[in-house]
């Protein structure tokens, strides 16, 4: 891999940038691999990368039905944080955040991790209580997190409407300073380039259409470009998890929904942290290019189309304007949707399956971008050793039978 740096940029400037190498190859699929990863999103590419890097398994193919990074990896609002409630989640997401913190150097690809802080607003006594619970748990887990007073919120985000007369006034907030955003496409591309450099074949426009089995064992996959053999197959296809599972005769506790997001026109920087409010249903950050990046809600019906309804977007934008009344005249430039894979407990599945050699990594739903490196890291471990790493052991499929769910919906918002 030719390294990227300011010096290589200067050198290439002299040759009018005509000599840059390909970031990754576009190889023809080989007839067989040691491991096949289905899904060329961030998680799949990271899995391949760590298989090669950590476990010395580089005879790996990543099969992607479209273009790499074109799934949810390419359409998320890029919020990164590890402030999850339950220990199991906190440890997993924290592992991921730590990997993120060294990722640009590790991959030699600037993923523009911007640890500008993630602020969660509280609008009711119930919110405050939940927020406090979370912060306390995180602190004892060694993860940075603190409560902000209303004054501190006001100072940190002067454009936020903190007026007590608001319909749902801001009462306080929590912040994780190490949280923030990153350039989502760069994460996919960086992993792709680094995995490719370690010998992984990334095969785009190659849709898996069947899972080949011999008795209870997986032997490979059928694709639009022919059958490809491998004794181990890891599926990391996000919204399409159920479709892949059905190919192996399995069903999953997953439903696929459209999740929408939108960006405004680029404006001069005015918002320097990520702001989330679950009560008013908005979250927003401002990218380094200047767009406001906003996440909307899911449409309640199942869908595999990357499109949603206008009222869902309007609702989110309304919430944003309620929190930030100066944004009324800023304009929405583009809106889109991804297909998210929602688990009943809003936690992922990283697991072996009843089919030997077949592994699933899915259920990240609306929040798996932040987990990309960590997810790939534990999934590579799980595939390489055919057993879960302690970090992902609680996220196995069995939990749906035993009832040991990891419910990250946040507590029910009811009171007497």
């Amino acid at each position: 891999m030719k390294r990227y740096s300011i010096f290589s940029l200067a050198r290439n400037a002299l040759s009018h940038h005509e000599d840059w190498p390909q970031a990754w190859r576009s190889p023809e699929p080989k007839p067989a691999y040691d491991v096949i990863i289905v899904g060329g999103g961030g998680h799949g590419l990271a899995t391949a990368y760590y298989l090669a890097k950590e476990h010395g398994i580089s005879n790996v193919a990543v099969l992607e039905k479209g273009w790499l990074g074109g799934g949810n990896t390419g359409r998320n609002t890029t919020v990164i944080r590890s402030n999850y409630l339950w220990d199991e989640s906190a440890h997993l997401y924290e592992k991921s955040l730590q990997l993120y913190e060294g990722l640009s150097q590790d991959l030699n690809f600037n993923i523009m991790l911007s640890q500008r802080g993630v602020v969660n607003l509280a609008h009711s006594e119930h919110d405050l209580r939940e927020l406090s619970r979370r912060v306390h748990a995180l602190r004892l887990n060694g993860i940075d997190s603190e409560v902000l007073s209303l004054d501190e919120v006001r100072r940190l985000i002067p454009i936020l409407d903190c007026s007590p007369a608001a319909r749902y006034p801001v009462l306080g907030a929590s912040v994780q300073w190490r949280g923030g955003i990153a350039r989502h496409d760069a994460v996919a591309w960086g992993f792709a380039r680094a995995a490719d450099a370690r010998g992984v074949d990334i095969i785009q426009n190659c849709e898996v259409t069947g899972i080949l089995r011999d008795g209870g064992r997986v032997t490979g996959v059928e694709t639009t470009r022919g059958a490809i053999r491998a004794p181990k197959v890891g599926c990391v296809v996000a919204g399409h998890a159920s479709v892949l599972a059905a190919m192996a005769g399995l069903s999953l506790p997953i439903e696929s929904h459209p999740l929408q997001a939108l960006v405004s026109e680029p404006i001069k920087p005015v918002l320097h942290t990520v702001v989330m409010s679950s009560a008013v249903h908005a979250y927003i950050s401002q990218s380094d290019k200047g767009e406001l990046v906003m996440g909307a809600g899911i449409d309640t019906w199942n869908s595999y189309a990357q499109r949603g309804s206008l009222p869902v977007v309007a609702h989110t934008v309304g919430a944003v304007c309620e929190l930030f009344p100066i944004f009324g005249r800023v304009r929405m430039m583009r809106s889109w949707a991804g297909i998210v894979d929602i688990c009943p407990d809003a936690s992922p599945i990283i697991s072996r399956t009843p089919v030997e050699g077949l592994y699933f990594n899915c259920g990240w739903g609306t929040g798996g971008f932040k987990a990309t490196p960590g997810s790939g890291w534990v999934f590579a471990y799980t595939i390489a050793r055919d057993e879960p790493h302690p970090l992902n052991a609680p996220f196995a499929l069995e939990r749906f039978s035993t009832g040991a769910l990891i419910d990250e919906h946040g507590a029910a918002a009811v009171a007497h």
């Binding site: 940029l9 600037n110 001069k268 304009r331 583009r334 918002a413």
Partner: protein, 1005 residues
């Protein structure tokens, strides 16, 4: 030229010369006319340089006359109404308009950001990804510098003062675009009797007819348009919406439109919304959105004065503005000759027509030559000159098989470069609708293919070129759409258009050669807004970003506020060439809403501020307000949290309220609790199925507390249910869960247990509920009722009596959530305030004191009563709460029965509800949410036992108390646990969760 040349031509155009309008751009005053856009007025005043580009800060002018404008973005208005990134080409001029250029410092003329151009060589596509990685962790600092260059315009510095509107609309036929095609479609559908909405983003309907000078039936075409509009205006079921952009095409023929109601004035009239969002459900849609001219990609094609040919014609025809004095037209097609001829006729000196085609021919070319114009064939503009305005071009001969054009070089001085690379049909909405596109080789454009919704495309967005074809397609589409809605109609008779000459084929040349390889000298801009060049695109392809979607994201082409309306096609064609593929194989990027940017205020509508969400008030709300209560939001309800008296803070108010409730009598507004009437012969059976405990044997007039679980065995809701009759129960729910519980019960009845004869009706709002609680509660009630026997024997705990209270028909429930003797009085809602007042009056001598939700929380916590949503969080079973007694496992079935049996719900070390007592003398409460550990000296990450769910200062005990959920808690009674807090480690003893009157003497009293 004889007369002095005035850019504003002495006659013509659709401006109102009688109404002059003053405006300010970058601090300088100018004037224009009503009917001008900001762009036309600037051009008329000779203002060329209006913007700086995003990345390199190159000087930019006005390139187009419409929605596709990539360059001329301005900051419009000021202060709280300041708006960034507004296209000057779409701003209607009004008197007093103020605009400023953006993205420059210190001024538009002298912009230091242009230094970026010096480093341009270091800033190829994707350069960010390749650098700023050293030293590790320093991106943080680099980012600050990068961020300074972010964005273009600025958000306003104060809250938007304007209001916005939403409205739903329904029609048979929605026609988007009011050019000739759209007008013909609307006329056809309207005459047939269909309900029609015709919208157009421009101030005036007419589309390209507004500026083209075309004729119909021998008269100016706008006369025909005027007649059509008059006829449409007279049809009661036709709505014509000018200034209205269809921005999104959603499922099942739903479209989003945004109407700019008041943007053509300095500010809206009183009561008028600034903009209105239309949510249109159309049975049929006709898209007549026209086509956008495509620029050619040649070296330094971005200088002010380089403009689309048809735009220049529009400025002249519609606004009577000549965009320059001496022009060169650079074209690959016949059509642009029309524009050149029109300009020539308008007095512009046409220095040359540079045609990429070796042998252009046909009537238009002949006409140009006949007028003595110089047509230079087989040559290209290889460079432009000038700084803040173009001063001339170089041209040279194209050579077969060469990437360079160096022969027959010539320079031509000019101040206007018109260019045309053909037309791109506006298929945005069609594609958003899910319709397939097909590539047309001849015109190098994607056209609407198979539709998947009830939509038709007509006119130049459908590939039609000649006016007569546009009219014909429009009329046919309108009639067919009406026909599909059941309105029989023949297409209307259409006026005759001038015959248009057949066009000779165009020459598609996506990157125009110059005297050096592309990327070595100057810049061939493709996306003018994001400063993406042909060299950037080729670089990306070379680096492996071969998917058009990768290309877009790596180079940011098409990602600006114009979404690449003038550039996307060239970008993908360049990619196709670079990767040796055909254009259709490369495909387009995805068309997404909005077509043009939509103000977030418009998406918001009027549900902001006080209208954000209903604030639900109880029938007694006004009293609480007058009493100075502090409120809290509980779902949509606003509930009195406490009632501070003069000089009291919350702590003191609370102490007073608590003291009264324990020692005298408190009064509480409990109206918000959910109430569901359950009626029918199977009511008891139904409740047996949805609650963990049993109801069949509950006596009439008796109350019982119950838990509802979810199927997975976790607590869903709780409350007291009363049997009113054999076949009639009153279920109460938590405030926040009232609606979800009802909907869940309906679900079960309608979908699961359809054989059960049970009917549910919400009566939450039918009754106001006043709770009297405390040792004197009975005495107060005694003063108010004559017909209810309050003697404990006659009216025991957990029972109901009917009668009158304060003369009002009432149901009185003897239930308690405070641990005190307590009555809940329910009366019809409109009498709630009267009841409350009567209680206050009667209770005065007993020290009656209103208490709010905060005191209620403390009182119940002292008793160890749980709150669903506070002690529980969706992962808690009744057993975890130490309330196994409420689960009747002998019942054959109830919701959650099987769920409770699952392995993990049977674990002995599950988190369980306990009480916590602090060390004697400790006055500080534990924070709610604090986590507990067994080892006082543990360091992070430390194993945790659980967390504090409730924590209060108990006035009754004169000590802090807490409830907590901790692992294996029931087995830990008496143990010490620790809460490591930021400032200390607090120790606490695990105790039974009930702190007050464990025997329950008081509430039974």
């Amino acid at each position: 030229m004889t007369a002095p040349f005035d850019l504003r031509r002495p006659e013509g155009g659709r401006i109102d010369r009688a109404r002059a309008m003053r405006f300010v751009f970058d601090g300088a005053g100018y004037s224009g006319y009503a009917g001008d856009t900001l762009a036309s007025a600037l051009l008329a005043n000779g203002v060329r340089l209006v913007a700086r580009s995003f990345k390199y800060h190159r000087p930019r002018g006005i390139a187009t006359a419409g929605a596709e404008e990539p360059n001329a973005l301005v900051q419009l208005r000021g202060n709280a109404r300041s708006e960034p990134n507004i296209r000057a080409t779409q701003v209607e001029l009004y008197d007093g308009l103020v605009a400023a250029s953006q993205n420059r410092w210190p001024s538009l003329e002298l912009d230091l950001g242009a230094l970026n151009s010096v480093f341009a060589k270091l800033l190829p596509a994707g350069f960010y990804y390749k650098t700023f990685m050293w030293p590790p962790g320093f991106w943080h600092f680099y980012e600050r510098l990068v961020r300074r260059m972010a964005g273009m315009g600025r958000a306003a510095d104060a809250s938007d003062p304007d209001r916005y509107d939403h409205r739903w609309a329904h029609c048979d036929v929605l026609v988007v675009g009011a050019g000739p095609s759209g007008l013909a479609a609307a006329l056809a559908a309207g005459r047939a009797g269909a309900r029609v909405i015709l919208c157009d983003e421009q101030a005036e309907p007419g589309g390209s007819l507004l500026g083209s000078g075309a004729t119909l039936d021998g008269a100016p075409a706008m006369q025909w348009a005027g007649a059509v509009l008059a006829e449409l205006g007279a049809l009661p079921d036709v709505t014509v919406l000018p200034r209205t952009t269809a921005f999104g095409y959603y499922d099942h023929n739903a479209l989003g439109l945004v109407e700019r109601v008041a943007d053509h004035a300095a500010e809206p009239l009183p009561g008028q919304p600034r903009q209105r969002l239309w949510l249109v459900r159309a049975r049929q849609v006709v898209l007549a959105t026209g086509a956008i001219e495509r620029p050619l990609v040649f070296r330094d094609n971005d200088r002010p004065g380089v403009m689309l040919a048809d735009a220049a014609r529009t400025y002249l025809g519609r606004y009577a503005v000549a965009c320059g004095r001496r022009a060169v037209l650079f074209t690959n097609n016949d059509h642009a000759y029309d524009a050149a001829l029109a300009l020539h006729a308008g007095g512009v000196d046409l220095a040359a027509i540079v045609d990429l085609r070796a042998e252009p021919g046909g009537l238009r070319v002949d006409a140009a030559r006949a007028r003595g114009l110089r047509v230079i064939a087989g040559r290209a503009v290889t460079a432009t000159h000038g700084r803040s305005s173009v001063t001339g071009v170089d041209i040279a001969r194209l050579q077969e098989g060469s990437d360079l054009a160096v022969l027959d070089r010539e320079s031509i001085a000019c101040d206007l470069v018109l260019n045309s690379g053909g037309w791109t049909p506006s298929v945005h909405l069609f594609s958003q609708s899910g319709g397939r596109l097909r590539y047309d080789e001849a015109t190098g454009a994607f056209l609407p293919g198979r539709a998947v919704q009830a939509v038709r495309a007509a006119g130049s967005c459908n590939g039609a070129v000649a006016l007569k074809d546009c009219l014909k397609q429009g009329a046919a589409a309108g009639a067919a759409a009406a026909g599909d809605c059941g309105f029989a109609a023949a297409p209307p008779a259409l006026p005759a258009a001038e015959p248009e000459p057949e066009s000779a084929p165009m020459r598609l040349l996506w990157v125009v050669p110059s005297d050096a390889p592309v990327g070595h000298k100057g810049k061939h801009f493709v996306d003018l807004q994001n400063d993406v060049t042909a060299a950037d695109l080729r670089l990306a392809a070379r680096e492996g970003y071969r998917s058009v979607e990768h290309l877009k994201r790596y180079t940011t082409t098409g990602m600006g506020t114009d979404q690449g309306k003038t550039s996307n096609l060239a970008a993908l064609a360049i990619l196709a060439e670079a990767t040796g593929r055909e254009i259709p194989a490369v495909g387009t990027t995805t068309f997404r809403p909005p077509y043009t940017p939509v103000a977030m205020g418009a998406l918001t509508g009027r549900t902001v501020g006080a209208l954000l969400d209903p604030a639900r008030w109880t029938p007694i709300h006004r009293w609480h307000v007058r009493a100075g209560a502090v409120f809290e939001n509980v779902g949509q309800w606003q509930r009195a949290r406490y009632y501070p008296q003069a000089g009291e803070d919350m702590h003191r108010a609370l102490a007073r309220e608590l003291h009264a409730a324990r020692n005298a009598v408190g009064i509480f507004d409990a109206s918000t609790l959910g109430k569901i009437d359950v009626k029918g012969p199977d009511a008891a059976r139904f409740l047996d199925l949805v609650y963990t405990n049993s109801w069949s044997k509950l006596g009439i007039g008796r109350c019982r507390y119950g838990f509802m679980l979810r199927e997975d065995g976790y607590v869903f809701d709780d409350g007291v249910t009363t049997r009113l009759a054999d076949d009639h129960f009153l279920v109460s729910t938590t405030t926040g869960n009232a609606a979800p519980v009802l909907s869940w019960l309906e679900d079960l009845l309608q979908m699961e247990w359809t054989e059960l004869k049970v009917r549910l009706t919400s009566v939450t709002e039918e009754y106001a509920v006043v709770t009297l609680s405390g040792p004197f509660a009975r005495r107060v009630l005694t003063e108010l009722t004559a017909d209810i026997d309050l003697e404990p024997k006659a009216f025991p705990f957990m029972s109901l009596s009917h009668g009158t209270v304060a003369g009002i028909a009432a149901r009185v429930f003897r239930v308690s959530f405070t641990g005190e003797l307590s009555y809940e009085v329910q009366v019809k809602a409109s009498y709630g305030l009267a009841l409350w007042n009567a209680c206050m009056e009667a209770g005065e001598k007993y020290g009656i004191t209103p208490y709010g939700t905060e005191a209620m929380h403390v009182l119940r916590a002292e008793k160890g009563y749980v709150i669903v949503g506070q002690e529980t969080d969706g992962t808690v079973t009744p057993y975890d709460l130490g309330m196994g007694w409420i689960v009747n496992d002998n019942k054959p079935d109830f919701i959650g029965k099987r769920g409770l049996r699952r392995a993990d719900l049977q674990r002995p070390d599950r988190k369980q509800l306990v009480g916590l007592r602090l060390e004697a003398g400790e006055r500080r409460k534990l924070p709610e949410g604090a986590h507990l550990v067994a080892d006082r000296d543990a360091v992070p990450p430390m194993p945790m036992l659980g967390h504090v769910t409730s924590s209060y200062w108990s006035v009754a005990l004169d000590a802090p108390i807490a409830l907590a959920m901790i692992k294996g808690g029931r087995a830990r009674m008496g143990e010490t646990v620790y809460a490591p807090l930021p400032d200390r480690v607090a120790a606490a003893t695990v105790v039974e969760p009930c702190f007050w009157d464990p025997e329950g003497k008081r509430l039974h009293g």
